[in-house]
């Protein structure tokens, strides 16, 4: 029917527009980072790598980059560990207060970041712990653990409920089973979780800004540059940041989307 076809084309075009909207800033950032104009517009200026040079010869930027790297790596490890323990507990056990446990583990993303940032700022400064890199790590872990838990829990859904009992049955204690069976089975999701939590931490600025004081991570530096003037350095830094995040997210997705190996039909 002609109506159907027309509708289809309209919807396809519309959806393409939506995707264009969503990816426009990323593409723009990339293009502008190589654009000589200070205030990018059409027509584009000439091609230049000046902004990259400027940004990456700034010691503050490198300092922040290193800190971002450390923070996101450590956060990834701790958040994944906590997320794993929560996911496994949810998978295997039923207990009084399980509902509360699950709410506790999944709540952080629903609280606005600014509020979390303020709360952590107050709390940590009571222990004179604010302003340190460790405090950013702590705050980010709280934020990222739910993502880790969700990813690993999804993978555990695919595990044969008899797999652990089979290992016990063959002589493996619970701890040995964890090491020899559960972890190998969930390994793709563990790596995916490491990538994802690293990405979230790497991009996260609000809490870092509040909590970091003088120990800045890259997003905080970006924020400070932004609060100053419009400086195209941000495009260069931003594009670099995008590249890191996108790589991590793509790896994570590829790992998660690879289905658990199913036996072929007999």
């Amino acid at each position: 029917m002609k109506d159907d076809k027309l509708l289809r084309w309209v919807l396809t075009f519309y959806t393409a527009l939506v995707f264009l909207f969503v990816f426009a800033p990323i593409a723009a950032s990339l293009v502008f980072s190589f654009n000589s104009d200070r205030f990018p517009t059409i027509p584009l200026g000439s091609f230049t790598t000046d902004w990259y040079v400027k940004a990456f010869s700034n010691p503050e930027v490198w300092d922040a980059a290193l800190r971002s790297l450390i923070v996101s790596s450590v956060t990834a490890v701790i958040a994944t560990a906590i997320g794993f323990s929560a996911a496994y507990t949810d998978y295997r056990y039923d207990f009084v207060g399980k509902k509360a446990f699950l709410i506790l583990s999944l709540l952080p993303p629903t609280i606005p970041l600014i509020i979390l940032a303020l709360a952590m700022l107050g709390w940590l400064s009571m222990f004179n712990a604010s302003g340190m890199t460790i405090s950013i790590i702590i705050a980010h872990t709280v934020l990222c653990a739910p993502f880790a838990m969700a990813v690993i829990r999804l993978r555990l859904n695919q595990m044969d409920p008899n797999l652990e009992p089979a290992a016990w049955n063959l002589g493996a204690s619970e701890w040995v089973t964890m090491k020899s069976v559960v972890i190998p089975f969930t390994l793709p999701s563990i790596i995916a979780s490491l990538c994802l939590t690293a990405a979230v931490s790497f991009d996260e600025f609000a809490v870092a800004w509040f909590v970091s004081g003088l120990n800045k991570t890259v997003p905080v530096v970006i924020l400070e540059i932004l609060t100053g003037n419009i400086d195209p350095q941000v495009n260069a830094i931003g594009t670099a940041v995008f590249l890191v995040s996108i790589t991590l997210v793509v790896i994570a997705q590829v790992l998660v989307l690879r289905p658990a190996k199913k036996p072929e039909a007999a």
């Binding site: 289809r8 919807l11 396809t12 959806t15 939506v18 909207f21 969503v22 990816f23 426009a24 800033p25 990323i26 723009a28 950032s29 502008f32 205030f39 990018p40 517009t41 906590i82 323990s85 929560a86 507990t89 295997r92 056990y93 446990f101 506790l104 583990s105 952080p108 629903t110 609280i111 606005p112 970041l113 600014i114 509020i115 303020l118 709360a119 107050g122 709390w123 702590i138 705050a139 872990t141 709280v142 653990a145 619970e174 994802l196 990405a199 979230v200 991009d203 600025f205 509040f210 997003p219 970006i222 924020l223 932004l226 419009i230 495009n235 931003g238 995008f242 995040s245 997210v249 997705q253």
Partner: protein
Amino acid sequence: MTTRPTTKPDTYAIAWRLPLIIWQGLFFVGPLLFMVAMSFFLVKNYRMEVAFQFSNWQRMLSKDFFWDAYFFTLWLALLATIITSLVAFPASYFLAFKASERLRRWAIFFLIIPFFTSYLVRIFAWQVILAQSGVINAGLSYLGLGPWQMLNTQFGTMVGYLVLCLPLAVILQTFSLANIDKRLVEAAHNLGCGRLRTVFTVVIPLAKTGLVVAAVFCFILSFGDFVAPYYLGGSKPPTLSIMIVDTSKSGQQWPRAAVVAITMILTLLVVAFSAIGFAYRKRGK
């Protein structure tokens, strides 16, 4: 002889249960509870003192600028939720009903990416695009139109909220639309229901839960967001989030910021619970 198995504490289970409880307890619940307490503290000479005074609450809740900001934020968030849900819907509909399984998977794959990239940098890019002499206005001038003032307006803020919420909204909507029983839609068509009418009378009610959840997330995200109203909206009038930032950064008035934060959380809880309650309510027919 009857023997009963002895009950020893299950150290294995406890070992796996504790990490989350301890960590979240110390670093999530603790800070939030502390923030509630903090709202009763006093600031003297730029230093915060432990106290139990209602002065912060009295002060904030009696001020016009607080309530202006409150209702303004509420209004913006509502607007953002509606606009995002509407903008997302045709795309979600397409992905759920008209796209192949493969295309849908790829679409979700790509949509997840911006979700995990720096929101801040994306907003900055939009700031450049929407500027007076930015890409859009330059394009418009070629067509003999404009320039339009897009930054420092509610329009700018809305664009920002869309950047924040749209990917998630499309993903959640697509997911819930794709999971409804397609046979019911076919049945409606068989009975002569027009396509558009089917959407409103059959598809949307069936996907109600997922659509409402998507909207709730949009609301939570935009209600609490600081970046969009600040960088694209001009921050005047301020939203509650901007108020928190201002109050705590410049005035060091953490207790007052805490008051704002708590009112935000309470509002969000009320909205979230009533919306979810609405979403899960069985249709009484």
